[in-house]
Symmetry: C2
DNA sequence: GAGTGGTCTAGACCACTTG
DNA sequence: AAGTGGTCTAGACCACTCC
């Protein structure tokens, strides 16, 4: 049933197993998962241990609890957590449908910064992707994405449709790697030639730069991403705890 | 011992009581608080209930746990949570000492936006403060801060030294109101005359605008704040969950 | 009323830190 | 060895939802 490191606490093993089942599609978005009592007998632990596991999944936004009704898989659109740029325009209400287009995907030698952020060894290789996020044909964001080739190597040969529109669900589904949290760093700068070209704006335009390190439950970095978007139409919303 | 709403779960009453004790100075920053077993007998509840209360204080960053040593009041500098703008400069390492200067403090009629964000009634009054955050004489941030006059009225007559350098600890100490989380929204715009003047920059400079709604445990908004800083030296770091 | 999640108990045993 | 927080148990009872 569980093949995780037995040195980890049971509630963490169970948390990861439930997350993996959801990623494998055993429980689908919007559906109710097994009840606490069922899970308790499935895993052979007390109900309190199950609750502890679910607590973390709920705070990760993977599962939603409804008192008296059950526990439900959240639609995996990440709208409340790790995708929340560009509510766009003054209306402020409409949420973006995250169309994305991967421009390139290749094995590459990581810079020292990328090596540090992904915690790669001196010999490790990396995967580099350039991706555009668009809405209604308009380019909103240009992203440079770095992954460890050791962890995500097969991504180079996968059908591109398996990587759209969102990458984090793809990491879960195909590699069992769950992004639990991320560190982000925002600055404002002027666009260089590559960024300006992809954003369809003049070089030297004012752009927002977002660096994001995506991290799993074990505190290991999964992805390093640098995104750029035009400053004058940029909105960034976040809940700070 | 506890005078909170008895309809609330015990662990929430205990959480708030412990937080209030810390705010009153019964346990000081860096000190160990009572052990779980002691708290359990103080409050007359099982140790699991104490743990539940402490869980929330720990995730709020009020208390830090150390396995085998005890539980400690975190230094209340908010450096890891709600004050983390402007790590400033390319060094990226030095953290800012948050000098602050309150320029004005008065009763004012809130706009509809402020009324909405503070959830004020149509007749309620508000307090408006303008504050500068500086480092080494240089102005980094210009803040416009709004509070409910009903909740924070006495702040108008307090010695200004009681409100520096940080406001959130002052809210805790003098009003027992704890900021549990905040919603922030960042945009980039050009400075108007007031902002440019306070930031000692030409009007029309590119500035970052941060709107922040600070919220307590009961999900009630405590403060609405709009901050501006020069875009070219702005760094914003956040942990996203 | 049956079934669900939410709170709370009163322990047990383990892992870590300090003397 | 003593004391601390961390994990886990096997229940009890409550609050909410749905039939």
């Amino acid at each position: 049933m569980i093949k995780a490191d037995p040195r980890l606490p049971r509630y963490q093993q169970i948390r990861d197993d439930i997350a993996a089942r959801i990623a494998r599609g055993e429980w689908k978005a919007g559906e109710a998962i097994a009840t606490e009592a069922e899970l308790s007998s499935i895993y052979g632990v007390a109900i309190g241990t199950i609750r502890r596991a679910i607590d973390e999944l709920a705070s990760d936004g993977v599962i939603e609890r409804a008192h008296g009704r059950g526990m439900f898989v959240r639609r995996a659109d990440f709208s409340t957590s790790l995708f929340r740029f560009f509510r766009l325009g003054s209306s402020g209400e409409r949420s973006i449908s995250p169309d994305s287009r991967i421009l390139s995907r290749s094995l590459a030698t990581p810079s020292d910064i990328v090596r540090d952020r992904l915690r790669l060894g001196p010999e490790d290789n990396a995967i580099r992707m350039i991706r555009l996020r668009t809405d209604g044909g308009k380019v909103l964001l240009r992203e440079e994405i770095w992954l460890s080739a050791t962890l995500f190597g097969p991504i180079l040969d996968m059908d591109i449709a398996m990587l759209t529109p969102l990458l984090y669900p793809a990491y879960e589904r195909h590699f069992g790697r769950i992004v639990a949290r991320a560190k982000e760093r925002l600055t404002v700068e002027t666009a260089d030639a590559n960024v300006a070209c992809d954003l369809e704006a003049p070089a030297g335009s004012s752009v927002v730069r977002i660096e994001r390190q995506a991290i799993d439950h074990a505190d290991h970095p999964l992805e390093w991403r640098t995104s750029h978007g035009l400053a004058d139409q940029f909105v960034y919303e976040v809940d700070v705890h």
